[in-house]
C-alpha cells in the first residue's frame, strides 16, 4: 500500500510539473502581456519587466512561475475583467463548480447503478427497453441539448424550476443543470454496471450461493452489488472529465457563476492568462480526484493493495 501510494503521488506531482511546464512555455508565446496594452515608454517597460522578474533567466522565471501557481497566484485577467487578479475570480466560483460537478457525479452514479442493476437482475422486457433508451440517448445526445430540453419543459412550460442560477435559491436553481449534466453519467454507469453485474451473476461463486439456497435478495446485496460496484470506481475518473467539459456549456447556459462558464467566456474573448490559469486548476482538480479514486479503489480492492495493478 505504502509503495503504491508513493508511486501514485510521485506520478501526480510529475504530471503537475509537466502541465506547469507546458503552460509556462505557452505563456512565453502568448500575445497580451500586461504591458502590451498601455502606452508605455521603453524605460517604463524595462522597469516593469524588472518588477515582474522578466529580466531574469528563463529557468529562474519558470521556478518563480511554479511557485506562484502553487501558491494560488495566477496573475491578472487580460481582457474579460482587466487587471482583476484571477485568484479573486476563482475564490467564489470554484466551490460552485465543484458542488455541481459532484452532485452530478453522485446523482448520475446512483441513478446509473440502480438502472444497471435493475436491468441485469430483472430480465423484464419493459425494463430492457427503458434501459436501452436511456443509455443510448445519454450517450448520443450532447448535454446542452438535454439542458435545452429541460429548460423548455420544466422551466418554461411547467414553470417548476428557475431557468437561471439564482443566489437567492442556490439549490432549486441548480437542479436542472445537475440533471442535464448527470444524464451521460447515468448512461455510462448503467451500461458498465449492467455488464459487470451480468458477469458476476454468471460467476461460479454466485452459482454456489444460489445452490446453497440463499435468497435472491441477499445474493443481490452480498455478491452482485458489491462485486459489480467496485469496478464502477474506475470509470468514475473518466466520467469526471466529461463533467468538466460539460460544465463549460451548462454553466454558461444557466448563468452559473462557476469556473466552467468563466473558461468559456475566457476562450470566447481569447483571455489567455485566464485560460492558462484555469487549465492548471482543471488539471490539478482532475489529478487530485484521480488520486483519491485510486486510493479508494486501493482500499476496497485488496489486489491493488497487495502490489497488483488495477486493470
Amino acid at each position: 500500500m505504502g509503495r503504491y501510494l508513493r508511486k501514485r503521488i510521485l506520478i501526480s506531482v510529475s504530471i503537475l510539473f509537466l502541465i506547469l511546464l507546458i503552460l509556462f512555455l505557452l505563456l512565453q508565446f502568448m500575445p497580451g502581456s500586461p504591458f502590451n496594452d498601455a502606452k508605455l515608454s521603453e524605460e517604463q517597460v524595462e522597469a516593469l519587466r524588472k518588477q515582474y522578474g522578466l529580466d531574469q533567466p528563463v529557468i529562474v522565471q519558470f521556478f518563480k512561475y511554479v511557485g506562484n501557481m502553487l501558491r494560488g497566484d495566477f496573475g491578472v485577467s487580460y481582457s474579460i475583467s482587466p487587471n482583476t487578479p484571477i485568484t479573486t475570480l476563482l475564490v467564489n466560483r470554484f466551490p460552485i463548480t465543484l458542488k455541481i460537478g459532484f452532485a452530478s457525479l453522485i446523482f448520475g452514479t446512483v441513478a446509473g447503478v440502480t438502472l444497471g442493476l435493475v436491468t441485469a437482475f430483472f430480465r423484464n422486457r419493459f425494463v430492457k427497453i427503458l434501459y436501452s433508451l436511456f443509455t443510448m440517448l445519454g450517450i448520443a445526445i450532447p448535454s446542452y441539448l438535454f439542458a435545452m430540453f429541460f429548460s423548455w419543459f420544466i422551466g418554461y412550460k411547467a414553470e417548476l424550476l428557475p431557468l437561471l442560477y439564482d443566489f437567492r435559491s442556490p439549490f432549486v436553481s441548480t437542479v436542472m443543470p445537475v440533471a442535464a449534466l448527470s444524464f451521460s453519467v447515468t448512461a455510462v454507469i448503467a451500461r458498465f454496471t449492467k455488464s459487470e453485474a451480468e458477469d458476476v451473476m454468471k460467476s461460479d461463486y454466485v452459482m454456489l450461493a444460489r445452490c446453497s439456497g440463499l435468497g435472491s435478495g441477499s445474493i443481490m446485496v452480498k455478491y452482485i452489488l458489491r462485486n459489480s460496484l467496485i469496478p464502477v470506481i474506475t470509470v468514475m475518473a473518466g466520467l469526471l472529465v466529461g463533467l468538466l467539459t460539460g460544465s463549460l456549456v451548462i454553466e454558461k447556459m444557466f448563468s452559473i457563476p462557476g469556473i466552467g462558464g468563466l473558461l468559456t467566456t475566457a476562450i470566447e474573448s481569447n483571455d489567455y492568462s485566464v485560460v492558462l490559469a484555469l487549465s492548471f486548476v482543471y488539471s490539478a482538480l482532475y489529478i487530485v480526484v484521480m488520486l483519491i479514486l485510486d486510493l479508494v479503489y486501493c482500499v476496497v480492492d485488496p489486489r491493488v493493495r497487495l502490489g497488483g495493478k488495477p486493470e
Binding site: 496594452d37 482583476t84 423548455w152 437561471l164 437567492r168 454558461k252 448563468s255 474573448s269
Partner: protein, 541 residues
C-alpha cells in the same frame, strides 16, 4: 427484498447528500416579486465608471452612478447633479453649479472636487482607460491631449473646483454638445479619499464603491452573473425611486432569456437578431431608435487596391443591404446608405438632419451592373485581375459578413474575401490598430451630434487611415460655428465622406426590449449608450 429496501434507503441518503452539497437554506424569494429583474447579455467588463468603454458595462454602472446632466424617461436632457450651467461668451469656459446637499451613499458630502478628481482620473495614463478619447477628441478639455501623450502632468487638466458647489471646465475648442456628452457614466464623480484608500481594488466589490445614483450596489463580484442593487436613500431624488431593489441577471443565452421572460422570471429583456421574430406582434415589445450603426470600414493604407476610389465604389454598390435586413437579420436592423441615421439629430429649423436617406444613392445604392463597371475600371487602373482582402468581423456578427462576402464575390469578378471572425476585444484592437483591409464595425454614438459618427474617419485618430485635409479642417471649424452655418458644414462633411467612399454604411440598428406587464418607465438614451433607469416602476400583479 428487505435488503433492496435498505439499498434504496442508501440511494436516498446519497440523493440527500447531493442536495446538501447543492447548498441548503433557500431564502425566501418574496422580494423577487416587488423588485425588478432585468436580463443583461453579459457580465460587465468593469464597473469602474472611468474605465468603462462598452455599453454592456455602462448599463450596469448607470444604476449606481449619476452625472452632471442626464436624460430623463422622456429623453429630455435635464440637469441631474448640476443645478444649472453657464457657458462663457467664447464657449471655452463652462461652469456647472451643483445641487446643494448631495451625498455619497456612505454619508460623505459630494463636492465639485469629486468631479475634478474623476475627470483627472479618466485622463491619467496610470488609470489606463480606453475612454480617454472622450475628452481628447469628442470634446477638447484644456491640456487633455498633452497629458495623454505624456507632455504634461495630470494636475494641469482644465477642470477646476473653486468651491464645493462650482465645477469649471475649460475647453480648447467650444463644444456645443458638451452636456449631452457629460451624461456618460465615464463623467460621473469619483470620491477622492475613498478611491485612494481602496487603491487598485476600487470598484471591484460592493464595499469598494460608493453610490451617488438611484441605487446602491449590494451584490457584485468581477464577472458576476447576478448583480443586486437596493434603493439609495441618499440619492438627491430618492423620493422618485419607488423600487426597493433591482437584480441584473446575466442571461448569456438569448433563448434562455426569452424563456425566462415568458415564465415571469425576468421583467425586462433585450431582444435582437433572429430570435426577435419570436416577439413580433407582442404589445410588450418596445422599440427604441438609437444611433447605433453597422459600417464596413475600409483601410485606406493597407492595400493599394483600396486606395482606388472605383474599387471602393464598386464594393459599396454591390452590397444588397435590403435583402440582408429582410432575410438574414429580419428584425432590429434597417438598411443605411448614409452616415447619419434618421431621427438622430435635429437641425436648427426643427427638421431631421438625415430626412432624406436616399441622398447618397449614387454612391451607395445596390446596382450590381454599375458596380461591375466601376470594378472593371478600377482593376484596369490598378493593372491587376484579382484582389484578395481580409474581412475582419466580430464573432457575433459573422452571419452578415457571410452574406456580404457572398454578394461581393458574385458581383465583383476576381474579388476574394477571407472572413476573419474575432472575439470582441481583438476585433476592437484590430479596428483601433487599423490592422485589416475591410472590417465590419459597429458603433454607438457617444453624444447626440453628427460629429460623433465622423470620429472613425478623423485623420490621426481615425480607425480607417482616411486622411483628408479638407475634412479635418471642416471638423475643426465645426467647433467654432453655430446654427445654420454649422448644419451646412456638417452636411458638407457627410458629402465628403460619401463621395470619397471613405467608409461604407451598412445598417442602422434599433433596440428592442420585451417589458413585462406592470413595468413602466424604461427608456434608452437617444444615442443608445445607456438605458435611462430613473423612472423605473413596477406594479404588482
Amino acid at each position: 427484498m428487505k435488503r433492496i429496501k435498505r439499498y434504496l434507503c442508501f440511494c436516498m441518503l446519497f440523493v440527500f447528500l447531493a442536495s446538501m452539497l447543492g447548498g441548503c437554506g433557500d431564502n425566501s424569494t418574496d422580494n423577487k416579486l416587488t423588485e425588478l429583474n432585468i436580463g443583461i447579455g453579459s457580465s460587465p467588463v468593469t464597473i469602474d465608471p472611468q474605465l468603462i468603454s462598452d455599453t454592456g458595462s455602462a448599463q450596469v454602472a448607470v444604476f449606481f452612478t449619476s452625472t452632471l446632466y442626464a436624460y430623463n424617461e422622456r429623453r429630455e436632457l435635464v440637469p441631474e447633479l448640476a443645478e444649472s450651467c453657464d457657458v462663457s461668451d467664447d464657449g471655452l469656459t463652462v461652469t456647472y453649479h451643483l445641487k446643494k446637499g448631495l451625498r455619497w451613499s456612505n454619508g460623505d458630502p459630494l463636492t465639485s472636487d469629486d468631479f475634478a478628481f474623476a475627470f483627472k482620473r479618466l485622463i491619467d495614463p496610470a488609470t489606463k482607460s480606453n475612454s480617454v478619447y472622450l475628452i481628447t477628441d469628442c470634446c477638447r478639455i484644456l491640456n487633455a491631449y498633452e497629458i495623454n501623450t505624456g507632455e504634461m502632468s495630470v494636475s494641469e487638466l482644465g477642470v477646476y473646483a473653486p468651491d464645493d458647489l462650482t465645477f469649471v471646465v475649460k475647453l480648447e475648442l467650444p463644444c456645443p454638445y458638451l452636456n449631452s456628452l457629460f451624461t456618460m457614466t465615464n463623467f460621473s464623480p469619483c470620491p477622492r479619499e475613498f478611491c485612494n484608500s481602496c487603491g487598485s481594488s476600487y470598484a471591484t466589490s460592493p464595499d469598494t464603491v460608493l453610490s451617488c445614483g438611484p441605487y446602491i450596489l449590494d451584490r457584485y463580484e468581477p464577472l458576476a452573473t447576478q448583480i443586486h442593487l437596493v434603493r439609495n436613500p441618499d440619492y438627491f431624488n430618492a423620493d422618485q425611486i419607488e423600487l426597493p431593489g433591482v437584480t441584473l441577471q446575466v442571461a448569456a443565452d438569448p433563448q434562455q432569456a426569452m424563456m425566462c421572460y415568458s415564465s415571469d422570471q425576468l421583467d425586462i429583456i433585450s431582444v435582437s437578431g433572429e430570435l426577435a421574430e419570436l416577439a413580433q406582434g407582442d404589445d410588450h415589445m418596445s422599440e427604441f431608435s438609437v444611433a447605433a450603426v453597422l459600417t464596413l470600414e475600409i483601410n485606406h493604407l493597407s492595400n493599394t487596391a483600396l486606395k482606388n476610389r472605383n474599387i471602393r465604389l464598386a464594393i459599396a454598390k454591390s452590397i444588397d443591404r435590403e435583402s440582408i435586413t429582410r432575410n438574414v437579420s429580419r428584425f432590429g436592423y434597417y438598411p443605411m446608405t448614409r452616415v447619419i441615421p434618421p431621427d438622430y439629430y435635429t437641425e436648427t429649423d426643427g427638421t431631421d438632419f438625415a430626412r432624406d436617406q436616399t441622398l447618397y444613392d449614387e454612391y451607395m445604392q445596390y446596382e450590381p451592373e454599375k458596380a461591375a463597371e466601376y470594378w472593371a475600371k478600377g482593376l484596369n487602373e490598378l493593372g491587376v485581375s484579382s484582389i484578395h482582402l481580409d474581412y475582419v468581423v466580430n464573432n457575433a456578427q459573422t452571419k452578415y459578413a457571410e452574406a456580404i462576402k457572398a454578394q461581393l464575390e458574385t458581383n465583383l469578378n476576381g474579388l476574394e474575401l477571407e472572413i476573419i471572425p474575432l472575439p470582441a476585444k481583438e476585433w476592437i484592437s484590430r479596428l483601433s490598430g487599423r490592422d485589416y483591409d475591410l472590417i465590419q464595425s459597429s458603433w454607438v454614438a457617444d453624444y447626440a451630434d453628427p460629429t460623433a459618427l465622423f470620429q472613425g474617419s478623423l485623420g490621426d485618430g481615425s480607425t480607417n487611415h482616411y486622411f483628408d485635409r479638407d475634412f479635418l479642417d471642416m471638423y475643426d471649424k465645426s467647433f467654432l460655428t453655430y446654427g445654420e452655418e454649422r448644419n451646412l458644414l456638417l452636411h458638407k462633411m457627410e458629402d465628403k465622406l460619401m463621395t470619397d467612399v471613405a467608409m461604407i454604411p451598412l445598417f442602422g440598428a434599433e433596440y428592442n426590449y420585451l417589458i413585462a406587464d406592470g413595468v413602466t418607465g424604461f427608456q434608452v438614451n437617444p444615442t443608445g449608450t445607456e438605458p435611462v433607469i430613473t423612472g423605473l416602476r413596477k406594479e404588482l400583479k
